[in-house]
């Protein structure tokens, strides 16, 4: 019973990732694509959590936290590139 619930929720998350993939390909502006990528990262975390429950293991838990951190850093880097044109500044007081 619990396994069926997990499989249904995996299916739902996968369908929502397909919707985000549509926005990533079609998205008219760059910020649309960045937001789609960020949300895809969150959905990947959900898929990893559901898979680790389905396989009954705790080996994926470090990976979940790692993916959250990396997705945050990536989104910040993309947003800074869109806002300023460079990701890492030499001296911001200039």
């Amino acid at each position: 019973m619990f396994e069926i619930v997990l499989q249904i929720s995996l299916l739902c998350v996968s369908i929502s990732m397909l919707g985000l993939l549509y926005r990533l390909i079609k998205g008219p502006t760059v910020p649309d694509r960045v937001v789609a990528l960020d949300a895809m990262g969150i959905n990947l975390i959900a898929i990893m959590a559901l898979t680790s429950m389905l396989l009954d293991t705790t080996a994926y838990l470090e990976g979940i936290l790692l993916l959250g951190i990396l997705s945050f850093i990536g989104t910040v880097a993309f947003s800074k590139f869109i806002e300023k044109g460079e990701v890492i500044e030499n001296d911001r007081d200039l």
């Binding site: 470090e62 790692l66 880097a77 800074k80 806002e83 990701v87 500044e89 030499n90 001296d91």
Partner: protein
């Protein structure tokens, strides 16, 4: 154009110690759970990259006055020395040993010389990643 990055900088101040702690946890847990020197080093350099993103190269060089090329050299030296250390005890190159110790606070723990080799990997990964990112970021 001056921009106001107050939210990003405040989040960085809270998040980067957590990321450093997680990297140290992954480094020491690598023997029994997923992780190890490589992922821990990448995560630590990820925390420094987050600092670089919300501040700039000069400020981060003030906070962490580290020459990352030296870090690579120290890491390689540690890894090579733990390999050659086995030769002193008449064992083949890269032979590792472990022993159980009763430490004051932690209690009964096994200390393994593979941790020292992993420390070398950790330092090399941090040094290489930060050298690449800083040399690309500094060019005008």
């Amino acid at each position: 154009m001056k921009t106001n990055d107050l939210i990003l900088q405040t989040v960085t101040k809270v998040a980067s110690p957590v990321i450093f702690l997680f990297s140290i946890y992954i480094f020491f847990g690598g023997h029994y759970s997923p992780g190890g020197g490589f992922v821990g080093g990448l995560l630590a350099s990820g925390a420094i990259v987050l600092l670089l993103l919300s501040y700039d190269i000069k400020t981060v060089a003030n906070i962490l006055p580290i020459d990352y090329k030296l870090v690579v050299a120290i890491g390689l030296l540690i890894a090579a020395l733990t390999g050659t250390g086995a030769l002193v005890f008449d064992a083949p190159f890269m032979t590792h040993a472990y022993q159980y110790f009763d430490l004051p606070i932690i209690g009964h723990t096994s200390l393994h010389t593979a941790v020292l080799f992993d420390l070398g990997v950790y330092l090399v990964v941090i040094g290489v990643t930060m050298t690449i990112i800083q040399t690309i970021g500094e060019s005008e």
